[in-house]
């Protein structure tokens, strides 16, 4: 036995909240994306813990698939960031609110 599952869940929750607060609070597009990465990492941690708890590899495979999806997401998102920077010479989200109703 390494550690109770509860502690792992608490750690993952704390990491998730940190990532989430980064997404909500920061105005810098790159830092918002970093927040998304932190959240995905936290989810991966829970998956790995679950895989270890039930001693099945399914959870680990989910993390692998998660990584692939993250790679795709980051590629698109960073391409968008570069595109937006070309338009406004800035990566502050406050500037990209033209669709405001």
């Amino acid at each position: 036995m390494i550690v109770p599952m509860e502690h792992l869940l608490v750690l993952a929750t704390l990491l998730f909240v940190l990532g989430f607060s980064c997404v909500l609070v920061r105005r810098n597009l790159i830092l918002i994306l970093i927040g998304v990465e932190i959240m995905i990492n936290a989810v991966g941690l829970v998956f790995i813990g679950a895989a270890a708890l039930w001693q099945q590899v399914d959870g680990q495979i989910m993390v692998l698939l998660l990584m692939a999806i993250t790679a795709a997401e980051v590629a698109i998102a960073l391409a968008l960031v570069v595109h937006l920077h070309q338009r406004k010479q800035s990566i502050d989200v406050g500037l990209f609110d033209e669709m405001r109703g």
Partner: protein
Amino acid sequence: MTATLIFYLLGAVALVTTALAIIQRNPVYAVIYLVKSIFALALIFYLLGAPLVAALQVIVYAGAIMVLFLFVIMMLEITPVSARKSSAPGWLSWTPVVLVALVLAVMTLLLIGLDPVAEQGIPRWHATPRDFGYALFNEYALAVKIISFQLSFAAVGAFHIGLTERRRARMEKDS
């Protein structure tokens, strides 16, 4: 015992570095702190019996995704000097964060309280790369195919977004 101690140590490192990452003004520092957090997480994965995923975590997250972040930061010419000037978040914007954190905390407590398995400890266990591979390509073969399609779509999409107007016009003229 040693493993438990290392787990808590790594958990603390992961939390502190992540917290430092999200309060940095300078995106490069944020990326570096996040890389440290990813390292700590990878070691936790290794402790939890996932050596393959731990290695992939370092290779994919720290070696590719974070490097991509750095690449974009450099392409946008955020130098050490200009990075110091960016704005800090206002205090008002923390309210939704606090609310969400409360909701998540309650959810986790409920999950831990209601779920009988949660109390039992995680046993010592080790998934060999061979088991991992068998499961990945037998049970999850379809998922692997879907993900690979998604990766190629992402590659095409990123290429399309990355084209500048001038190059797009030139490519349309050529075709």
